[in-house]
């Protein structure tokens, strides 16, 4: 199988300062995580808070430096985190990221068109007409009209802002899009629109997704493969349909059984006095 992204034995340790009776020490956020993602594929990293899923995403995009392990893109190592300007720009053309809250990830003083254009100006030697054309094409691709393109983030709804963030992330035609809880903050009816949009965009552009989520329903819709993380480690991995239909690991089963559905009765498991 050809491979776009490879992650091998990834590990991240954060030093923790002493506070309120807790001694200083090391927090192992990610421990021995490995997976691969083919070109145009969609891999979900599933887990609850503290599972390390977001730290994995931040290391892949280069916002965090791994303590150990290897990240490769097209077989080439990506460790050169302190690379020069040229290397960083080349990396940006390969990998882009969409965050949970587009309100904090878009510049409030910039129009949507302005935000996308800036990116094109920084990366390509295009004239204004060509940039305008590409901006219009991107807005159309994510379902925003001309007026919305000229608006500032504040004037848009949550769904529109997330569309804008996706358009900006796609502007450089990256090979890999990292979506960190990208639909988690949206209302259900709008969430459905964005999920459908993401499904279409992958089919149209061939971009690969690394989809970070806690929501098993969303994961089922969006990913081909998934990795279930618990306390920094991978507890189960495989085709998404197989993992969700026939989970092998106890934690995956526990996660699935906690999803509300018709006929579901919430149950107390263990007394959780010990878990802080």
């Amino acid at each position: 199988m050809s491979e776009l992204l490879g992650v091998e034995n990834l590990r991240k340790v954060f030093p923790v300062r002493a506070s309120a009776g807790e001694p200083a020490g090391d927090l192992v956020a990610v421990d021995d995580v490995s997976f691969t993602l083919p070109p145009g594929g969609s891999l979900a990293v599933v887990g609850e808070s503290g599972s390390g899923k977001t730290t994995v995403a931040r290391m892949v995009v280069g916002l965090e430096t791994p303590t150990a392990g290897r990240i490769t893109l097209d077989g080439e190592s990506r460790e050169a985190a302190r690379a020069g300007r040229g290397a960083r720009k080349a990396r940006a053309r390969q990998i882009q990221m969409v965050f949970q809250d587009p309100y904090t990830s878009l510049d409030s003083r910039q129009t949507i068109e302005g935000a996308i254009e800036e990116l094109l100006r920084a990366h390509f030697d295009w004239d204004a007409a060509r940039r305008r054309e590409r901006v219009a094409e991107l807005l159309d691709q994510v379902g925003l009209d001309k007026r919305q393109g000229g608006a500032r983030p504040r004037a848009l709804s949550g769904g529109q802002r997330q569309r804008a963030a996706i358009a900006r992330a796609l502007a450089l035609e990256p090979r890999l899009l990292i979506l960190d809880e990208a639909v988690a903050a949206l209302d259900v009816s709008v969430q459905a629109q964005i999920i459908n949009l993401l499904t279409d965009l992958r089919a149209e552009t061939g971009v690969a997704y690394l989809f970070i989520s806690h929501d098993l329903g969303v994961v089922r819709q969006i990913s081909d493969d998934c990795v279930v993380m618990h306390r920094g480690r991978v507890v189960e991995a495989g085709r998404t349909t197989a993992v969700l239909d026939d989970p092998q690991d106890a934690y995956t089963r526990r996660l699935l059984s906690a999803v509300p559905r018709p006929g579901w009765v919430p149950r107390r498991r263990a007394t959780s006095g010990a878990s802080v």
């Binding site: 009816s189 459905a192 629109q193 806690h214 996660l255 906690a258 559905r261």
Partner: protein, 350 residues
């Protein structure tokens, strides 16, 4: 959950009928609730379900009478037969302190970070002249009831030393301290992980049954509401569009909005193209003279745009839709490539 209907003829503990609410925004009254009606009996759980801006939290603010200055209400809000809107200062104080309790979404925003859990839990009882020893014993007993095993140690800890799930249990315990008859839980598990949500919901459910509490449970999650309540009221743009028994809502939903909400939730068991309700949720004040859902409704007709439908009984539901009978059982949102494409075009304005 078992439904425990009121004895025949008895008044429900809470009755809200045709509630309307205006709140001043820059000096101008702005409509926040158009028409909200529901009932909750003792021991019964009602789910108020809706997307952001639908008015579910504002409805509970009216129930608690926690409204900004200059707010104007119309319609009835009765607690045990007494209008909440007409209570004098003393009655209101008694009502808020001992009849009704509230659990919020973010426990960290609702608890004072500089006091210990123990100080927080015993404060209300100490005010009522309960001795320190007895107040502490009662607090510890309650913490044990909500599944906190090492309660005495927790009493000495500060909020930042507890996880979100544990802290939400502390909030539930604190809500139970004064033995209320009505519990309002506003998205109590939305900030929690699913496995923690399950634990907290189980505890909330247990407390409600054991104490015969009336519960108003606010959530955006229709599946969660359906699983843990007896009845569901679906809200949109400050209006209750449908109320029905939770157990069979998934099969019997009548309002196009309810059916659409059910169809847009991604399932963990199969993959299909989601039916996305076109457009974005509107606020109450943006609604025209007709049905508040008209703009996004694929079934809207001229009448829907001109005349606002009232909540009326169809089958065993209450539904505010002119076309409820006509559309019954015929609203299907099965994915069909072509129709979906049309929906997508409509959704461009989202």
């Amino acid at each position: 959950m078992n439904s425990r209907p009121n004895p025949p003829g008895a008044d429900p503990l809470v009755r809200v009928s045709h509630l309307r609410l205006d709140i001043p925004v820059r000096g101008e009254p702005r409509r926040v609730l158009h028409d909200v009606s529901f009932e909750v009996g003792a021991g019964v759980a009602l789910g108020l379900v809706g997307e952001s801006g639908s008015g579910k939290s504002m409805t509970t603010r009216v129930l608690m009478r926690l409204l900004p200055h200059g707010a104007a209400t119309d319609g009835d809000v009765l607690f045990d037969g007494t209008p909440v809107t007409g209570m004098d200062r003393r009655a209101l104080r008694r009502y808020r302190s001992s009849e009704v309790a509230m659990v919020y979404q973010d426990p960290r925003a609702a608890i004072n970070p500089v006091y210990t859990v123990g100080a927080f839990l015993t404060e209300a009882l100490r005010e009522q002249k309960v001795s320190r020893k007895e107040a502490e014993e009662r607090a510890v007993a309650l913490l044990r009831e909500v599944g906190i095993t090492d309660a005495p140690r927790r009493m000495r800890q500060y909020p930042h030393q507890l996880s979100g799930g544990l802290l939400q249990r502390v909030m539930i315990a604190s809500a139970m301290l004064t033995k209320p008859r009505l519990l309002i839980a506003d998205e109590p598990t939305t900030a929690l992980d699913v496995t923690t949500q399950e634990e907290v919901m189980a505890i909330l459910d247990e407390q409600r049954r054991e104490r015969g509490l009336a519960l108003v449970f606010i959530t955006h999650d229709l599946d969660l509401a359906a699983a843990v309540t007896d009845r569901i009221a679906v809200m949109y743009a400050g209006t209750v569009l449908e109320t029905a028994a939770s157990a069979n809502l998934h099969e019997t939903a009548l309002h196009p909005y309810t059916v659409g909400l059910l169809a847009s939730r991604p399932s963990t068991v199969d993959v299909k193209r989601l039916w996305a309700i076109p457009g974005r949720p509107v606020s109450a004040f943006e609604a025209g003279p007709g049905c508040v859902f008209t703009e996004r409704c694929p079934f809207a007709q001229d009448r829907c745009r001109a005349e606002r439908p009232a909540l009326r009984t169809v089958d065993d539901h209450q539904v505010a839709c002119h076309r409820a009978e006509e559309l019954r059982g015929r609203i299907t949102y099965e994915a069909d490539g072509h129709a979906d494409h049309q929906h997508d075009e409509q959704t461009e304005s989202v």
